[in-house]
């Protein structure tokens, strides 16, 4: 198909012939085209269907405010729904499909909704579909949901990369139209660090769409030359294809650069888009303005568009919207479109100007005081019905109609911190208000100064003012001569008496809907928006909000500013979720932390498990083992019978030094530490200030003024933060220094009756029971001199040690331990076996320290020293935390050894009802104990301490389990603790 509506070449490149398909049909466009301009060049006006009534639609605009021409771009994992054809940069091989249709774009079966529109008015769904209740999910809603929505996701993973980046500048200039470019010149020449961002792939803004000159060159050429000069300045960063999406607190902006969206596929290793976080000392908003449509019957047919868009297609893309066009305007600017297109040989049927005193603007008919009252054409405009000033009717045969209802400054970014725009009568529109985001100024059309001359001068002035404030000496240049016509507009929002005149073209909100909402009492702007969905479409109301406001004002007999405005929120244009996520996706969602034995464990075919960001060995399967339980049982038994080794590096470690170190620990632990002897370790329980258990661990006194504190793996960070809070904010004069050493030391538990024998082969010092008893600690050396630490502590309940060496030696040490332990058949064990043994021993862990349990609950009530002040001690004494029948940690075993005792189950009395009212407690941790030959569990039970031996029921209706169990001591193994002292 030829480009029948390509009139000149504008700024596109005819030598660059680009092939693309739309709904499977092949077309050709030129370099510099958008998808919309290329389709229009090919005479394809119909590009989409509206949301509710499925009306045929073509482009209303030539920019990012487009409500109608939305397509599914690309295919497969790169399929991108709701892409604006008006901004999609054409590339060779582009494929696009129309969306939101049932059947073909031409014959959309759901266009039946248009016939039923009278029944489907604003908010109709709130009044029906209520009977019978069950039908909503089953019948009504599925129908509505499938009719609703626009484009579709592929359901395939997005294959592209997204980057994030951070930029710093003195001045961020948003928009590279005449105002932005002239500002950038001033700023660039002043030596300031400048960022100039524009959403378009070609900088210049309206200058590329207009014909008037700047000095002795065309506006477009001036823009090109200016951009070229800016590009030579090292202190200026040009960001084309970059949308500043939001203004956030303290001068932080977010911007999305579309690096590869104009390519079929991003280059290898290169991102599709970049999310820039811009730290700007000042910002200058030069976002321009957006033209307004006019409300009249059937003003939504393909071919009807904003006059400025028609001009953009003509001047920039060299495309006529149609061979015969008319203009409907209430201001002088509309005439420009007629004049420009006329000069390009397009037939101007007439300029319909609502103003009785409409000017003559060229060699074509101007109908003063006339209005377009209706249009015809099923899939595209064919006729426009006009009512002339004298009331007589007139039919114009046209394929395109340009609407010019005046211009709205693009104030969006000025509202992102809830600033409110103010009404400006001369332009009959809202302009930026007072309370702008900190450090922001506005220039050019965004302020309501619509002439090119005003844009150049206000841009330069505003930039200079900001830069002076920052201590630069900018020199505003002499501005070249250029267009400086005053704005001349007579407000005209919609043709009286019309009903189906579209305000929000995508959401199908018409004048009639706004009137109905008003009639039903939805009279605040927020209520109108929410009830009619006006302005809630993907164009965020850029072309529709004003019309709605104007009609409400009329109905309420108020002025537009009295009715109010709607505040714009980020993002300025819809933003892909991919770029907001950046690289933190898939396996890179969070960083991975590996233990010092990771490489070695992989060699042992360990199975790993995520513990926070850590990967820990869960168990070490041996050949022949078919079920994880076999491996875990073997590891437990081997450890209890001989010796096992487990990497416990992930436990948090904090180095606490200073003269007041002991007093400090006395504050953060509820039990006492002042009297702990050097060379000894003590278990410590840490409470939150609210008296609830926060974390537990050990503190080893390496010297008078030096402790090594361990935390649980999960709480390493919060506990360190808490300790710094206590140190800096509560006891600022304590001589204490803290630093985390979690990753500085590789630490392994060596547990089991043969653990001493094993370690004696490695440790250089005497570690006999006398020399190194239970709960001893020391700086030692291993293997003939490597500095190390040894702690005689036991999580498993066996004779056990934890040995630590600098991380770099962790790999060597585990291998040495395995060699030295070969004669004892030393067995590596993972987190599962670790868990089994701690449950067998009744040690509380994460499942028990769940943020709601007290020392009492854990059976450690007596640990809370009353003789001293420690964090949480006072609030731990509240009555509610000290009731006689409070939950107590207990052990649980099945009456029938074969029965399961699932964690998460609840405890009920042996007889009586099973419901919440009779809930006695719950199971926190459970495991199969190979030592005992049945499952065991830990849990919390009301008045548990006095229930040992009681028969109860463990119920888990969720998993269909009900087991008869017996309450036992939590210490299933070696309750007297003989083994660990052996």
């Amino acid at each position: 198909m030829t480009q029948i509506n390509r009139i000149t070449n504008g700024q596109t490149n005819p030598d660059q012939r680009l092939e693309f398909t739309f709904d499977g049909k092949t077309f050709y466009g030129q370099g510099g085209d958008t998808l919309a301009s290329a389709l229009l060049a090919n005479g394809q006006r119909l590009m989409g269907r509206s949301f509710k009534y499925h009306r045929p639609r073509g482009p209303l605009t030539a920019g990012s405010e487009e409500p109608n021409a939305l397509v599914e771009l690309r295919t497969g994992g790169r399929q991108e729904p709701n892409t604006r054809a008006t901004t999609a940069e054409l590339y060779d091989g582009l494929t696009a499909r129309s969306q939101n249709r049932l059947g073909s774009l031409k014959f959309d079966l759901l266009s039946i909704n248009d016939r039923l529109s009278n029944f489907l008015t604003a908010g109709f769904y709130y009044k029906t579909f209520m009977w019978p209740a069950a039908f909503w999910e089953k019948l009504y809603e599925p129908i509505i949901r499938h009719a609703a929505g626009l484009g579709s996701l592929s359901k395939i993973d997005d294959p592209d990369l997204y980057d994030k980046g951070f930029l710093h500048c003195d001045q961020l200039i948003i928009g590279a139209g005449p105002a932005g470019l002239s500002a950038a010149l001033v700023a660039g020449r002043s030596g300031a660090q400048v960022i100039l961002a524009d959403e378009d792939f070609r900088m210049g803004g309206r200058l590329n769409s207009e014909t008037f000159a700047i000095g002795d060159q065309s506006g477009a050429d001036w823009a090109t030359a200016t951009v070229a000069e800016l590009a030579t300045m090292p202190n200026v960063r040009l960001l084309p294809r970059t949308t500043v999406i939001g203004a956030f607190d303290h001068g932080i902006f977010s911007a999305v650069e579309r690096v590869s969206d104009h390519l079929a596929v991003p280059a290898t290793g290169k991102p599709r888009q970049i999310l820039w976080r811009i730290y700007a000392k000042s910002s200058l908003l030069c976002a321009g303005a957006t033209e307004r449509p006019i409300g009249f019957e059937n003003n939504d047919r393909p071919g009807i568009m904003l006059a400025s868009a028609m001009r953009t297609y003509g001047n920039r893309f060299g495309v006529a919207a149609d061979k015969r066009v008319a203009i409907f305007t209430n201001n002088d600017d509309g005439h420009r479109t007629a004049a420009d297109l006329h000069a390009k040989g397009v037939k101007i049927a007439a300029v319909v100007d609502t103003r009785p005193d409409a000017p003559r603007s060229g060699d074509y008919e101007v109908l003063a005081g006339a209005q377009v009252i209706d249009t015809k054409g099923r899939l595209g405009l064919t006729f426009a019905e006009v009512r002339e000033a004298d009331g007589s009717a007139r039919t114009l045969e046209v394929g395109a109609l340009g609407m010019s209802g005046g211009w709205n400054p693009n104030v969006h970014m000025t509202c992102h911190q809830r600033g409110c725009p103010v009404w400006n009568d001369t332009i009959a529109a809202f302009a930026p208000g007072k309370n702008l985001p900190v450090g922001m100024a506005v220039a050019g059309a965004a302020t309501g100064a619509f002439s090119t001359a005003a844009a150049l001068s206000t841009g330069a002035k505003a930039a200079a003012a900001q830069l002076r404030h920052l201590g630069f000496q900018p020199k505003p240049p002499r501005q070249p001569k250029t267009e400086d016509t005053p704005t001349n507009v007579t407000p005209f929002w919609y043709v009286q008496g019309c009903n189906r005149a579209w305000l929000d073209q995508q959401n199908d909100v018409t004048v009639k809907d706004v009137k109905l909402a008003h009639q039903e009492g939805f009279r605040s702007v927020e209520h109108l928006k929410r009830y009619t969905t006006l302005g809630m479409a993907t164009d965020q109301g850029k072309t529709s909000n004003m019309g709605g406001l104007a009609i409400m004002a009329e109905l309420a007999g108020k002025s537009i500013p009295d009715v109010g405005t709607t505040i714009f929120r980020p993002p300025y244009t819809p933003t892909s979720m991919g770029v907001l996520a950046g690289r933190s996706v898939g396996r890179d969602f969070h960083p991975t932390r590996l233990t010092p034995t990771h490489k070695w464990a992989e060699e042992q075919d360990a199975v790993f498990v995520e513990v926070g960001n850590w990967l820990r060995a869960q168990w070490f399967p041996k050949s022949g083992e078919t079920h994880w339980r076999e491996s875990v049982d073997r590891e437990v038994i081997a450890t209890r019978n001989s010796v096992g080794v487990c990497d416990v590096t992930t436990l948090g470690k904090v180095d606490v030094q200073g003269a007041d170190a002991a007093d400090f620990l006395n504050k953060i632990y509820c039990n006492g530490f002042a009297k702990l002897a050097v060379g000894k370790v003590r278990y410590g329980l840490m409470l939150r200030e609210d008296g609830i258990a926060m974390d537990d661990g050990t503190a080893a006194r390496m010297a008078e003024d030096h402790f090594v504190v361990t935390t649980t793996t999960a709480n390493a960070l919060p506990v360190y933060r808490h300790m710094e809070f206590v140190r800096q904010c509560l006891y600022p004069d304590m001589d204490v220094q803290l630093i985390s050493t979690t990753e500085a030391w590789a630490q392994y538990a060596v547990a089991g009756p043969n653990s001493r024998k094993l370690l004696e082969k490695i440790v250089d010092q005497d570690i006999s029971n006398d020399a190194f008893p239970f709960m001893a600690c020391a700086d030692i050396t291993v293997c003939g001199g490597l500095r190390a630490r040894l702690f005689r502590i036991s999580f498993s309940g066996e004779l056990a040690y934890e040995i630590a060496v600098p991380t770099a030696y962790g790999d060597a040490l585990i291998r040495r331990i395995m060699d030295a332990g070969a004669e004892f058949d030393v067995t590596p064990y993972g987190t599962e076996a670790l868990g089994v043994m701690r449950i067998e021993k009744g040690h509380a862990a994460g499942n028990e320290l769940n943020g709601t349990t007290t020392a009492q609950n854990l059976g450690m009530g007596r640990m809370v020293s009353k003789k001293k002040d420690s964090i949480g001690s006072t609030l731990s004494e509240r009555e509610g935390l000290n009731r006689p029948n409070d939950l107590r940690q207990i052990g649980i075993k099945p009456v029938n050894p074969a029965d399961p005792v699932p964690a998460g189950g609840h405890l009920m009395n042996a007889t009586g009802p099973v419901d919440a009212a009779h809930d006695q407690g719950y199971v926190t941790s459970a495991a199969y104990s190979p030592s005992l030959g049945h499952m065991i569990a830990l849990g919390f039970l009301k008045d548990g301490a006095n229930q040992i031996g009681k028969r109860m029921r463990l119920v888990s209706p969720l998993t269909g389990v009900e087991t008869e169990i017996e309450i036992a001591s939590a210490h299933f193994i070696d309750p007297e603790g003989n083994r660990l002292r052996a």
């Binding site: 626009l150 993973d157 993907t538 933003t575």
Partner: protein, 416 residues
């Protein structure tokens, strides 16, 4: 005027002339039996149930702006009763049951859609915790089901399993959970209350309370003094500001919670899904937008807007869970101000001032709680005793050590 399909058709054929305002715009009377401060979901629901269930007469709702302009219109529209603790679960289950009959009850289609809610599990400890919770739900008469990864993938085939940093190991489902068209809840309650004689007074800001020898007797407002026998405050987000007028310090902080919606898409996400290894929950509205949210911004704020780090954090989680989302676009983001209480649970209680009652501290739970909150607050106002399902929501639970801490985060509001 009763709404029905028949009525819609009749009006369509007669030019929609017959539609009346959904609620009146009355002038404030000099005195009411009961004044509810706050025309949000909870305030309107309270007035509705007072009038409908407790024979209340002469009731007014005072709203400083437009009804439904607060959190009831700024949330992610999720309803569920998947709570763990005794103090909470019966209350939220009561709320879910009220949702189930709500539309027929107040004759307004709020699009209560029980499409199910799913909490994903990524670790064994999480499975233990969710098992305990699921059991608690069932023991309280709610529904819960533990799903395998396979069952989950049948319904959500696009979830990331083969390249996940935190693999999905199952999920706890509540099939009766789902979503509700949030604005319609406020409008439906307003209309239902208005029909029953409640005066809904918009643009009427309470500027102070009139207290006489220890008893509240009325409120000063931007539209003059209004007397009342009882005054109920339900102004989530502004609770501390309002109660400071009677020198009350509350056990809560105000925090901003952002919510997001994508461009309209054809149906892709059937139910409500919650990521267990990051901050992300998501559903798809009937209009086609993906409605999603995550964590608080984390700092005290009364500004109904947030900042980018949380936006990025939420989208990271969304992409980690559903890599297809890279091609979807975020359309709008907004912030709501949450009363974050000290244990993450609400307060429905009398104050130390006779005749002054308080409802607030809803944290994230506010929207789903709307019906039960209204019902129980109405019960307290009408009968001067707490509803059996709301006995734990008292002020003094903190001084007495009876916190209701679902998350186990303690007295730090931004962690709940």
């Amino acid at each position: 005027m009763r709404y029905s399909g028949f009525k819609v058709i009749k009006e369509a054929l007669t030019g929609h002339k017959g539609w009346k305002p959904a609620w009146r715009d009355p002038v404030p009377q000099a005195h009411y039996d009961i004044i509810i401060i706050g025309g949000g979901g909870h305030g309107l629901a309270t007035a509705y149930y007072l009038a409908k269930e407790f024979g209340g007469k002469k009731i007014a709702v005072l709203e400083k702006g437009w009804i439904g302009g607060g959190n009831v219109g700024r949330n992610t529209t999720i309803v569920r009763s998947n709570y763990l603790l005794d103090g909470n679960e019966p209350f939220y289950e009561m709320s879910l049951k009220l949702w189930e009959g709500l539309e027929q009850d107040f004759n307004y289609n709020a699009m209560v859609s029980q499409r199910g809610i799913l909490n994903l599990i990524h670790s064994d400890a999480q499975r233990d915790a969710f098992t305990r919770r699921g059991n608690a739900m069932i023991l309280n008469g709610a529904d819960a089901e533990m799903l395998t990864t396979g069952q989950i993938l049948d319904r959500y085939p696009f979830l990331n399993v083969d390249n996940a940093r935190f693999p999905i190991k199952g999920g706890l489902a509540q099939h009766r959970g789902g979503t509700v068209r949030h604005d319609a809840v406020a409008w439906g309650y307003a209309r239902g209350a208005d029909i029953r004689g409640v005066d809904i007074i918009q643009n009427c800001e309470v500027t102070g309370f009139r207290i006489e020898n220890g008893k509240a007797i009325g409120v000063e407002t931007s539209r003059g003094y209004i007397g009342a026998n009882k005054i109920g405050c339900a102004v989530a987000g502004s609770s501390s500001r309002l109660m400071s007028k009677v020198d009350m310090q509350l056990p809560m902080e105000s925090h901003v919670l952002q919510a997001f919606v994508s461009e309209g898409l054809k149906p892709v996400i059937p139910g409500v899904i919650t990521f267990g290894a990051g901050h992300f929950y998501c559903s798809q509205s009937d209009k086609g937008g993906l409605v999603f949210g995550g964590d608080l911004d984390g700092y005290n704020s009364y500004a109904q807007r947030g900042n980018m780090p949380v936006v990025e954090d939420v989208c990271e989680s969304g992409m980690a869970l559903m890599p297809m989302l890279g091609r979807a676009r975020l359309l709008r983001m907004w912030g709501g101000v949450m009363d974050m209480s000290m244990d993450g649970s609400p307060i429905i209680d009398k104050t130390h001032i006779d005749g002054l009652y308080f409802n607030g501290g809803w944290c994230y739970g506010g929207f789903k709680a709307t019906p039960a909150s209204g019902y129980c607050f109405a019960h307290l106002l009408a009968r001067d005793m707490p509803h059996p399902n709301a006995t734990a929501f008292r002020f003094d639970r903190f001084s007495r050590g009876l916190m209701i801490d679902e998350k186990g985060m303690g007295n730090q509001p931004n962690l709940h």
